[in-house]
Structures are given as C-alpha cells and as structure tokens.
Amino acid sequence: MPETNALPAVTVRGLYKTYASGLTALKNIELTINRGEIFALLGPNGAGKTTLINIICGIVTASAGSIEANGHDIVRDYRAARTIIGLVPQELHTDAFESVWATVTFSRGLFGKAPNVALCEKILRDLSLWDRKDTKIMTLSGGMKRRVMIAKALAHEPEILFLDEPTAGVDVELRREMWQLVRGLRERGVTIILTTHYIEEAEEMADRIGVINHGELIVVEDKVRLMRKLGKRQLTLQLQSPLAQLPPGLADYPLELSQDGHALVFHFDAHSRETGIPGLLRRLSELGLEIKDLHSQESSLEDIFVGLVRARP
C-alpha cells in the first residue's frame, strides 16, 4: 500500500503553454495527482491533454508554471524526476529495424538503470511479447507495437506511468488485457495517468477524473462523486395509449413527452431524499393514464462529459 502521508505523485502549479505559433495550449493548470491512483484525463481532440503530459515528461517546455514529480522539480531536478516517470506516447514511434529485446533493454539503459535480464524478460512475458523478442519491430502488428511501447516505458520500473491514449486503435481483447495490466501496476503502487477517448475506459478504470477543454482544466473530481454530482437519472414511462400533448395536470413535473406520444420521460435527482416518483405515479393514476412499462437509467460518464464540454464553448 502506498504511504498515506507521502508527497503527491505529481503537482502542477500555474502551468501555461503557448506555442511559438501563438496557440495557447494550456491555461493556468493546477493539478495534484495522488500517489498510487489511476487518474484519467478526458477531453476532446486538441484540448491540451498530450501537451500537458509532454510537459510533465520533459518533451515540451512550459511557458510558465512549475511541476514536481515525487517532490522533484522536473526542470531543476530533471534526473530524479524523469527516472521515476515512464511514458507511453499516443503515436507508435518505434525503431523499425530494431528487435523487441534490443529496444526494451535500450530504454532501460537510457533511463539510467543497470541491465536486468530477468526483469526485461518478465515485462515481455507479461505483455505476451516474449516469443517475439527477436522480431524486428517493423514486422509487428499495430497492437504488438503498442505492447512494445508499453514494455519500453516499464523497462526502467517507473513509479509514475503516463499512458497517452493507450487503447486507441486496439482491439477489444487487447484493451481488456491493458486494463488488467494497468490494474496490476496500480496494485504494485504505480501511479497511472491516462488519457482516453473511450469514456467507458475512464469509467471502468479511473479513481479520479480530470476534464480538460480548450487548455483549461474544468473539472477534477473523484469519479464516483463526479458521476453522482453531475449524473442525472431518468425514468421512462411507456403509456398504454399515446398522448397528443402533456396534460395540464402534470405541468409542475419536469416531464417530457416523446415524439410519438407513447412515453413520458421524467428527470430526477437520484440522491435527494425525495425523488418525486411516488407522487408522479399517483398523479398519473388520478389522471387515468395507464402505464404499460417503466424503466429508469443513470447517465453515463459520457453524458456528463459531453455536457461539461458543451457547456463551455
């Protein structure tokens, strides 16, 4: 278990990035990533997710602000900071002519770690790459290359792992495997920061969620709390006979009538004491409206995300 009083894994303060082209990619980012958590960074394309990750990893220079990884400033104390960080970039940048084994051992050395054959073997076995260790990378499939990128990032035993769109263009089976891998890493105390387009991935994996849009971090929240706070529930009532319009007797309920008049949709707050459902059902029977079927559903993280991003143009 990670120490509870330990320093945060990553602290970002007042971070700005304006590219030479004049494009402002990040505006005043303040973010703390706790040790041992899985943090998902969501945002539409071009929101600044990759820029943020690249700045933390040292690939892009910040315009203003400071970042610490385990208390090490990433500029002044870059050696200590970078040694504990691993990055799996979004693009599959690989050395085409190298063998899998050569590229993974190269990564370990580059990050200042003495060769460790047993460890590299274990990493390759865990990623089902062991039987391909002498294969030239260029001959591997996209999914296999993705595994190689992960193996390279893990070769120096990072404490903080960045996964930039780890499952983009990956088939369902491999995606499941990756989720399993990420969970396994978290159990060993590795802090994981991932960006993703698949909201179900964040919903499935993350402890906390940050939403970034137009270079601004608009929400950082515990996943469960975020879904509770911003999530809505809705109750759909299928009517026995269609309605032409909403009866006046129902005007004080937040109801919508479906296009065909066959269903009533009722929005309610699932977490308040009074959902209003019993009253609504009573009123419906008073009005003589017969209900054929009913079901309730919870809004997904996707609905919440779309709502957040749309709300701030």
Partner: protein
C-alpha cells in the same frame, strides 16, 4: 553521470553500424580502393613525386580524410536525424540524460565508426601502395580529432535538418568540394599564387596538411597551425551544440 544511458546509446548506434555493414563500412572502403587503383596505380605511375613522396602514397592521407570527413558527417547526422524523423526522439527527450551524455553516446559512436573506417582504408591502401608513417602518434591524434570534430558537426546538421534532402546536402555540397579543393589530391604549392592564398580559407586544408605531415613529415601549413585549426573547429562545434541543447532549438517546442 548517467553511464548506463551513454552505454545504451553507444551500443544502439554501433549495432546500427554493424547491421548496415555494407553501407557503413564496405562501400566507403570500396570507393577508396577504387581511387587508389585509378589515381595511385594507373595515373600515379605517370605522375612525378610530390614533396618528395610518390603520388600513390601522397594521396593516402587525403583519401582517408575525404572518407573520414564525409562519413563522420553523414553517420552522425543520420544517427540523430533518424529518431527525429521516426519520432523515437521523444524517449531521449524524456529520459534523465544530459546533453553531454547524449553527445558522448551519439558522437562517440559515429567517431568510433569513422576511426575504424580510417584504419581499414589505411590497411587497404597498404595493399596498393607502399608508405610509412613518420609520426604515428600525431597520425592517431589527427585521425581521432577529425573524426570527433566532424561527427559533432554531423550531429548539428542532423539536429538542424528537416528533411532527408537537407541531411544529404551538407556532405554533398560542402564537405566533398572542400575536401577535393583542400589538397586531398595535390599539394597547395602546386597551385597558382592567388589560389594558394584563397585556399587557406578552406578549413579542410589544415586537416589534410596536418594529417599528411604525420605521414611524411612534409606539410603545406605548419603542423601546429593545423592542430590549432582542428581544435578551433572542435570548440566551435561544441559551442553550437551547447547552444542547441540549452535552447532546445529544433528539439523541443
């Protein structure tokens, strides 16, 4: 000092050399051997002695320099351009590696390859023409110094280049002409007086002259001037590289 990183880069680059053995070693050796056959054996037999040295032997230092200069530049520039082009540079940039360490790895590997090549050509030449080396220690110094300096120069070009065309253009359009005009195949004293003056602006003259002196004890310019010029160029390259790494020029946005 991140010794593991230096070793990793050096090893990686040397592995690339041996993987492309034909291209990196065999083809320069072959083309140099062809020069010896044509200029040394075929034409050289009809040429008089230059500075008291048979023509076949006279061109040996110049030919080695020709290879070392162009190979150092193209090896080192390719070594760093390739990761830039393929995107794998992200790993180097995110690694706990200082610019000095990256330089030692990349430039060290390129220079090693050039020195190996120089020695191979030296041996190949011995098969074609007889010569002896008057000052072997100086010869080794000039060989290594030139290999390092021009590998560094190549590294800069590799960082600067944005296309394969730009990568080729410097060795092709600058290094090769300067070497041919720098006295690889003639002594400067054979030129008209005006050209003798102009040619002194060609930095390669000093390299070839110093290197030839280490073989035959005769030189176009004083050997100390040659050594100083070589060190000067080395210092200039180091300064440019430091500036590049400090500012992140063409490396970081």
């Amino acid at each position: 000092m991140n010794v593991h990183a230096i070793r990793a880069i050096y090893h990686f680059e040397m592995a690339r050399t041996f993987r492309t053995l034909m291209q990196s070693i065999a083809s320069p050796v072959l083309s140099t051997a062809l020069y010896f056959v044509v200029f040394g054996a075929a034409i050289g037999a009809r040429m008089g002695r230059v500075d008291g040295v048979g023509y076949g032997a006279f061109i040996v230092p110049g030919l080695i320099m020709l290879s070392i200069l162009s190979e150092s530049v193209s090896n080192a520039s390719f070594g760093i351009y390739l990761p830039k082009w393929s995107g794998t540079i992200f790993e180097l940039l995110s690694a706990p590696v200082s610019y000095v360490e990256a330089l030692i790895g990349y430039v060290g590997a390129a220079a090693t390859k050039s020195v190996m090549l120089g020695v191979l050509i030296l041996v190949t030449a011995r098969v074609c023409v007889p010569y002896h080396i008057a000052h072997p220690a100086w010869m080794a110094l000039f060989l290594i110094l030139t290999a390092v300096t021009f590998s560094l120069f190549g590294f800069i070009i590799g960082l600067w280049a944005e296309s394969f065309e730009q990568l080729q253009i410097v060795p092709l359009m600058i290094i090769t002409p300067l070497t041919f005009l720098g006295g690889a195949f003639y002594s400067i004293s054979m030129l008209p007086p005006l050209w003798q003056k102009i040619t002194l602006f060609n930095p390669v003259v000093y390299l070839i002259s110093g290197f030839r002196w280490s073989f035959f004890g005769v030189a176009d310019v004083n050997v100390v001037t040659s050594a100083a010029a070589t060190f000067g160029f080395l210092a200039l390259c180091i300064a440019v590289v430091s500036w590049i790494f400090k500012t992140g020029y063409k490396l970081k946005s």
